[in-house]
């Protein structure tokens, strides 16, 4: 389970298109900006509630 207090949770819409590529790019951006964060694909409506943005 992720600790949302420590890590920001970024959701990537995981329906169609470059899903893996967008996840990889976002992880890379977080690393470059030295932000503690996790990236999750969002495929179901209820998953939107579990991410910060």
């Amino acid at each position: 389970m992720r600790d949302k207090k420590k890590n920001i949770a970024i959701g990537i819409l995981g329906i169609q298109g470059d899903i893996e590529e967008n996840i990889a790019a976002t992880i890379d951006a977080l690393r470059t900006m030295k932000i503690n964060g996790d990236v999750y694909p969002v495929r179901y409506p209820e998953e939107i509630e579990q991410v910060d943005g």
Partner: protein
């Protein structure tokens, strides 16, 4: 940073265009990154064969990522016989005006002029397809000469890599189009998966890799990249015989990146509902409950009857050169 493989490219290819924009900046069109990137943007999606504006609108409404414009659906091509050629320019342009999703169109294998026409009218991707009557029995189009990306069919790894070497940006299984029988597409994706697995088992052994490259008549660099990635260096879609949501989910679960549906939707008696169901099953292919919901949306009695692939007069997958 890119996750798109750029191995075995032709940076000085004729298809790469240097454009000066109205703001006087220089941009490149038709690079390998753009072509393979466009194909990546279709991943996890469904591309539907259409023959009219009405069908294209149904496809768009259902959530298709793109439409493939043909003169006749593969099932009707089999029934009509004769020579199957690219669709009418007028119809393609009407569809381009009517929908906002990308438009793809088929040209005959080896028919460079049909491909140039499709490029000139601005289609987003060209399918050099065995569904149409091949124009050249021994050569495929040299696709590096085009700014527009291409998709090609393949039955196995060697065929796929040879098409990529010619500049193709997306591979699809050949399957047996217009039959409503998914078995041939399954055979092709399993063959390709097994060959890649075998390749991965000696991915560090260049002596074995060069031997395999020579056997498959493809480049060492492409084969090495495939072994490194554990998959094709370009997107690989399922095609040929898909007609139900469960068919689409099955092929996605076998490792396909997306699905082409040809006759399966618009030769069925419930096209709009079926189109939505196939998109749903493709998107949530790993979730059997949602695939079951998608299956509930279609009535098997309304599926296309289909054709027995063992007794076909015309096996489209065997048309055109495979080398």
């Amino acid at each position: 940073m890119t996750t798109i493989s750029l191995v075995a490219t032709e940076p000085e290819a004729k298809g790469v265009k240097h454009i000066t924009t109205s703001e006087n900046s220089q941009v490149l069109r038709g690079t390998t990154l753009v072509k393979r990137g466009f194909a990546h943007m279709q991943k996890h999606g469904v591309i539907m064969d259409v023959t009219s504006v009405e069908q294209a609108q149904i496809a768009e409404e259902a959530g298709a990522v793109a439409v493939m414009v043909l003169d006749k659906l593969p099932y009707d091509i089999r029934k009509a016989g004769g020579v199957a050629r690219t669709a009418s320019v007028k119809v393609i342009q009407e569809i381009m005006d009517a929908v906002t999703i990308p438009i793809m169109a088929k040209c005959r294998i080896g028919h460079a002029s049909e491909a140039k026409v499709l490029e000139a009218i601005g289609v987003d991707m060209i399918d050099e397809s065995e569904v149409l009557t091949p124009a050249d029995e021994v050569r495929h189009i040299w696709k590096w000469d085009y700014t527009t990306p291409f998709v090609n069919g393949a039955k196995n790894l060697g065929e796929a890599l040879r098409r990529i070497e010619e500049g193709c940006a997306m591979i699809r299984t050949k399957g047996e189009p217009g039959t409503g029988d998914v078995a041939e597409a399954v055979t092709h994706i399993k063959m390709l998966n097994n060959e890649i697995r075998r390749l991965c088992s000696f991915s560090e052994d260049n002596q074995e890799l060069i031997k395999s490259a020579r056997e498959m008549k493809t480049s060492f660099a492409l084969l090495q990249e495939t072994a490194r990635l554990g998959r094709l260096p370009v997107v690989n879609f399922a095609a040929g015989g898909i007609s139900t949501p469960a068919d689409a989910a099955f092929l996605m679960n076998l490792g396909c990146d997306g699905v082409f549906v040809g006759s399966g939707i618009f030769k069925a008696d419930d096209p709009a509902q079926r189109a939505r169901a196939v998109v749903l099953a493709t998107t949530y292919h790993q979730d059997p409950k949602i695939v079951a919901e998608a299956q509930k949306m279609v009535d098997e009695k309304k599926s296309m009857l289909g054709l027995d692939t063992k007794n076909l007069e015309l096996r489209m997958q065997e048309r055109g050169p495979s080398t």
